[in-house]
Symmetry: C2
Subunit: 342 residues, 2 copies
Amino acid sequence: MKRQRTQRNVTMVDIATATGLSLATVGRVLHDTGYVSAESRKKIEAYIQKTGYVPNKIAQGLKSRQSKLIGHLVVFNPNMLFAKISLAVNAAAREQGLHVLTMTSHKGLEEDEALVNELIGHRVDGVVVTSNVSMPKAAIQKLVDRNIPVVMIERTLAVPRVDRIRVDDLGGARLAVQHLLDHGHRRVGFIGMHLFHEVERLRLAGYRDALLGAGQTAQDDLVRLMAEYSPEAGKQAMESFLAAPEPPTAVFATSDLFIGGVLQALHARGLRVPHDLSLVGYDDTLAAMFAPPITSVGLSLDDVGRQAIDLLLKRQPTPAASARTLTLGTVLIDRGSVACMA
Amino acid sequence: MKRQRTQRNVTMVDIATATGLSLATVGRVLHDTGYVSAESRKKIEAYIQKTGYVPNKIAQGLKSRQSKLIGHLVVFNPNMLFAKISLAVNAAAREQGLHVLTMTSHKGLEEDEALVNELIGHRVDGVVVTSNVSMPKAAIQKLVDRNIPVVMIERTLAVPRVDRIRVDDLGGARLAVQHLLDHGHRRVGFIGMHLFHEVERLRLAGYRDALLGAGQTAQDDLVRLMAEYSPEAGKQAMESFLAAPEPPTAVFATSDLFIGGVLQALHARGLRVPHDLSLVGYDDTLAAMFAPPITSVGLSLDDVGRQAIDLLLKRQPTPAASARTLTLGTVLIDRGSVACMA
DNA sequence: CGAAAATAAGTTAACGTTAACCTATGAAGC
DNA sequence: GCTTCATAGGTTAACGTTAACTTATTTTCG
């Protein structure tokens, strides 16, 4: 009945003493290097099999000064965009034998500093920042100063020696608005978020670009900048459009999160998409779920994870290289929520 | 111009030699234990401040045999449910000085075994499993055998010595269906997923319970079990209801992911919620975003993270305790998508 | 005044893995 | 018959932190 209270994990030393061989020989079997007799190998492998020995990554990390961990700072927003990125980063990391320490920031500035310190404490081999929150430049700088490679996804703030992966937001917005213009719409509404974040500035620029390209003048009376991405904000914006003297015939929303609210506002007045209003979303996270399904701008996130990890690993040997920026393309996913103007 | 290629991180030994004090004294300052003169303390703290020393958790982990990491095995499904749980687990872990190694499984059985081995390699202090995929019992057993505490969220499979946090799916489904019955509906449709997972069996049981309680007989012709949670599946199910000789007047869907499709099917025939069909969803992840907003059963996930971490930490001192199950309540969030039968 | 207690600090051995370095056999090769 | 080399294996010192010991000084007080 005697049972050790907290039985220790099997170690290489345990294997060595149990097989009567030395630590070095055990190491040689584990790493498949050097000369080991078939007999010794068999003995060691049998013992490993029997005990289910798993090498201790903590000890390996201490020795190699590499944690094989990467940090992922991410704020899950209400659509699945960042969750998708999280998934992609995880998969790509695993392919490289890395693991991901996910940290979700929700409070403000101070906490971000703390998060970064914790990542440093764990001696992460790199950090991916996926976030539209205002992580202070200083916090990121702290990582850079320690030669910890950093990649930022969907964050246009430039920091020296930090690689970025961004989406071609200007092009994406232009794609959406051009689609509306091509269907003969001339009064095109824009529902976006305040311009604190560069991504929104670019989307608005893309909207204006497309209008100007079609010989239209700026339609700033049809621009609504809300405080957040949410159905409520979308509803407010749409109601405000409907109350205007000359409402738009088409609307581009910079996030699929606005769509539900837009539809609710229309629904309340008995109006329908695309008959009474043409609508295009952005992200393509939710657009397929509405009735009717909504045309939206999809972001090519397929291998954003692999690219992020690639950038991190490439930076390792040459810490001082200048920053690279990778721009992901966008594609319009047509679901028929845009009608032709007669 | 000479610059060390990969300048090492500052260590306690560095602090000791730089200040002319011993390793032990540095340790005493860092842990605020024992006797240290004000002068020595000041010297050490100044050096720490200057160099930005951050303790190496890897070395601490090796010494203490505690990684301060917990593993989170999770499959992000298309609604935000699991992302929400991930967030909650992260926040709760951080409050306890733990960090989360997130692992997203997507392939099948074999990979799950590998994931578990990697968690063991990192010597995680506990594992949270949030997943409706079929992670083999054997993989979980492997963790249990090593006295690594495991908590399963929303997974009804019972494993010895593994704590569970589940949702009262039977009660939740009953709540939804009772709501429909209370409004006078007698032909109530059920859209769920195949009964491979216990959660779906419980939801179906809740549906039947409510019907029987109202003196109704089972309405198995109004039950549709789909292959996946998705708008497409919801659409198919609803179309099949509409093609039936006597369609239901109300529908309960076991996931908000079905709702979009249900609305699309209705929309195609010019039918409206709640006028032509009453609808209640489940999860309350997306229901608020539709037009009209849909009544749904919300899960009390607020402190699911804290509870998960609590269970893990409580299990630490007494590894052999029997399994506990925590059941989370549900609440009906009424958004008016249910009409009274005249 | 001397013993006990408080204060201040140093030494050293783990924790589990890796890798450089060393030793000892046979078997070829000249 | 000696050197060279391929084979098989052992010893040991890191990696950075912790904590148990040990060693001095001062105080405190019966």
